[in-house]
């Protein structure tokens, strides 16, 4: 009996190992019905997975092989909407691309992976990146989180695979020595650009209010935003009345808010990476009766869910975003998104749209280069001067940092139950 159990377990382990090694990742494969002989392409994809990197290195310019594009996002766990919404957008986008004959006449083999794992650490992202690189992916898109983005960028640059993340920290495209990561091109603005713009806006356009800051100390994006905002705002001459901190997964900010409120700030700025924290803070500010204090947030606020959550408590709160999710330019996307994916209970949000830029940039790179050769694609992106993304128009990449040039930022304010755009600004 004991032996049987041991043997069963040992074989289960071996099986599960081989299972994750095989081509099981292509389940979210959205290869279109239009793509010729879909079943064949699938087997084609599964086979080279075992024959290591030769396949990835081999030039595929004149082949009809599908273009392999991988996407990784945070698609399970508490913050699943940050991965699922982009995943839906990408799936729909590539379905359409395939229906129209693909890029360069080649179908897109789009593979999406959940990297949230159990810890939300980057071990999953690293595993997925390894898997995609080994499967010969032409382009890897995502993730949106900077910690994971940095880990994946490191791998893609070692392997020489084009990487287009939406992670906003500078450290994703520039390594520790200040050198640009050659193969990583971002699809959205950097945090420092955003915060620089926001601080300038608050100082120049809003009459230099007194601002208190409440930030999370262990997430790199939050700390980055806090530091840039704090430094820029004080150097402009603005007054930061107090700084307080909270911990990841906190939901209770009343103690901090009460303490911060003692200095009578006009605003409390919370550079949060999840909307629920901002929603809770807004509710708690109102609950405590500090009617004179408004919330400053980040673009995660641009989300119907947070309005459902906190409602009127958000009145007067402001944030900076890379695009107005209610803008006319997203009307078309919104229409089909709501129709197809709205039932999932996850509203369209700007981070999803920024992630969707990845697909646009990928399309530009492939179609301009006329091949999926990585150097050709890099060249196309380096030489790009203007491109209309989903969220914004850009003037190409800064060669030193691979940051996007010419991004417009929108300031939005919650007025009478809805977000109203306060105009578009660009980084000073």
């Amino acid at each position: 009996m004991k032996k049987v159990v041991s043997l069963v377990c040992a074989s289960a382990m071996i099986l599960s190992l081989t299972a994750c090694f095989g081509g099981s990742g292509s389940t979210s494969d959205t290869a279109a019905p239009a793509a010729p002989a879909q079943t064949e392409t699938k087997t084609d994809v599964a086979a080279p997975a075992e024959s290591k990197e030769e396949q990835a290195e081999a030039p595929k310019d004149d082949s009809d092989d599908p273009i392999i594009i991988g996407f990784m996002g945070w698609s399970s766990g508490p913050d699943a909407m940050y991965g699922l919404v982009p995943q839906y957008l990408h799936e729909y986008y590539f379905k359409n691309v395939n229906a129209n004959g693909g890029w360069l006449g080649r179908p897109i083999d789009f593979r999406t992976y959940d990297i949230s794992g159990l810890d939300g650490d980057f071990s999953e992202a690293v595993n997925v990146a390894n898997k995609l690189i080994q499967a010969g992916a032409d382009i890897i898109m995502g993730p949106s989180n900077s910690t994971q983005g940095k880990a994946v960028a490191e791998l893609c640059n070692n392997a020489g695979v084009l990487h287009i993340p939406s992670s906003p920290a500078q450290a994703v495209t520039v390594d520790d020595n200040g050198a640009v990561r050659e193969y990583t091109y971002r699809s959205g603005a950097t945090l420092s650009d955003k915060m620089n713009t926001f601080a300038n806006y608050m100082y120049h356009e809003c009459g230099a209010p007194r601002i208190a800051i409440l930030y999370e100390t262990t997430q790199v994006d939050c700390v980055d935003m806090y530091q840039t905002f704090h430094d820029v705002y004080t150097s402009l001459g603005g007054e930061i009345t107090g700084v307080s901190t909270y911990q990841i997964n906190d939901i209770e900010f009343r103690a901090q808010i009460t303490s911060l409120a003692e200095a009578n700030p006009d605003y409390i700025f919370m550079p949060a990476m999840a909307y629920k924290e901002l929603g809770f803070a807004a509710m708690q500010i109102k609950e405590l009766g500090f009617d004179g204090i408004k919330l400053l947030g980040t673009n995660v606020l641009d989300n119907q869910d947070v309005i459902d959550q906190a409602g009127a408590a958000l009145e007067g709160s402001m944030f900076l975003t890379e695009g107005d999710v209610n803008d006319e330019r997203f009307a078309e996307i919104r229409e089909w998104y709501d129709e197809i994916y709205g039932i999932n209970g996850m509203a369209l949000h700007i981070d999803g749209l920024i992630a969707m830029n990845e697909a646009k940039i990928a399309e530009y790179a492939v179609t301009t280069a006329g091949s999926t050769d990585v150097e050709a694609m890099k060249k196309a992106l380096d030489e790009m001067t203007d491109l209309e993304l989903v969220t914004t128009h850009i003037d190409g990449y800064d060669p030193e940092t691979h940051n996007l040039k010419g991004i417009g930022f929108t300031i939005k304010k919650f007025e009478n139950g809805a977000y109203v755009s306060q105009g578009t600004y660009s980084a000073p």
Partner: protein, 295 residues
């Protein structure tokens, strides 16, 4: 680096950590919910040593383990003495785990990189050395478990008061088990740092602790290779379940429940995975000896 190689290295790292915790939980019956903090201590120690001082990788692993073991004494001394219940230890580890993570993000930013983490490490961890370290970890902890210490640990787990009356120094034995578990977690942390070549405090969170604990219990009490196998399965399982797409974590949880339901003491409770082979060996030996005895 290949995908399978990556998974295998992850498994080896987890095995190293789990071997130590198997002593603490499987043998001593102490229940830690914050062992990720020892990985954190080990990872930062070893990373700083190789990055700033150019210390040899293997030495840095040992140093990481030593620092983690020293850190474990901080919670061990107040909570493992006398009549204080195991639950106090559990809460202390829960708190200490959080504390270390937050401290690493907030102190010594120049050295540890704060929330940005420590990057630019050398990629020292490769499959070959990881497998060797994992095997060594299994052998060392197995040796400890089958020595008198291991028997005493089981005795303490079952009847602490009675064991004390036989002359067992409970505090010392518990502290030793805790330090061993922390040491191996520290070594595992160091390996992890040089595998991902990038560490941030937040990866050493609650869930990592829970996963380690789950592996140990799932693998079976009073066994070293059992938890080692289980952690291999658990590391590979979320990957193997990828075809389930977004349902995979639900299924993972469900699988855990089913295993606990069917084999509550764990898959390999009170035996090692080598048991069939040892049995076979004994059987052959007996067969071979019998005619000789007759002769």
């Amino acid at each position: 680096m290949g995908y399978l190689e990556g998974i295998s290295i992850s498994i080896c790292i987890n095995i190293v950590c789990v071997c130590g915790i198997a002593i603490l939980t499987g043998y001593m019956g102490l229940f830690s919910m914050g062992h990720a903090c020892f990985l954190c201590l080990g990872a930062y120690t070893s990373a700083c040593l190789t990055k700033y001082l150019g210390v040899n990788y293997f030495l840095s692993l040992l140093a990481g383990g030593a620092v983690a073991a020293a850190g474990s004494v901080v919670i061990g001394i107040p909570t493992l003495r006398g009549k204080i219940s195991g639950d106090c230890f559990t809460i202390a580890t829960l708190g200490f785990g959080e504390a270390v993570r937050i401290l690493m993000a907030n102190i010594g930013t120049n050295l540890f990189g704060g929330a940005t983490g420590l990057s630019g490490l050398e990629h020292f961890t490769n499959l070959k050395s990881s497998v060797v370290i994992a095997v060594i970890a299994i052998i060392l902890t197995r040796n400890y478990a089958r020595s008198q210490h291991g028997k005493i640990a089981l005795a303490i787990r079952d009847y602490a008061d009675a064991s004390e009356l036989l002359g067992v120094n409970i505090f010392h034995e518990k502290l030793k088990a805790l330090m061993i578990s922390a040491f191996f977690c520290g070594v595992g942390g160091g390996m992890m740092a040089h595998y991902y070549v990038y560490i941030v405090p937040n990866i050493f969170g609650n869930t990592m602790s829970n996963n380690l604990l789950t592996s140990v219990v799932l693998g079976g009490v009073a066994s070293i290779t059992g938890p080692a196998t289980a952690t291999g399965m658990l590391t590979a399982m979320p990957e193997a379940f990828r075809f389930l797409d977004n349902w995979r974590l639900s299924i993972y949880g469900l699988t855990l429940l089913i295993i606990m339901r069917v084999r509550p003491e764990g898959l390999f409770a009170y035996k090692e995975i080598t048991a069939p082979f040892t049995a076979l060996y004994r059987w052959i030996k007996a067969k071979a000896l019998k005619p000789a005895a007759k002769a």
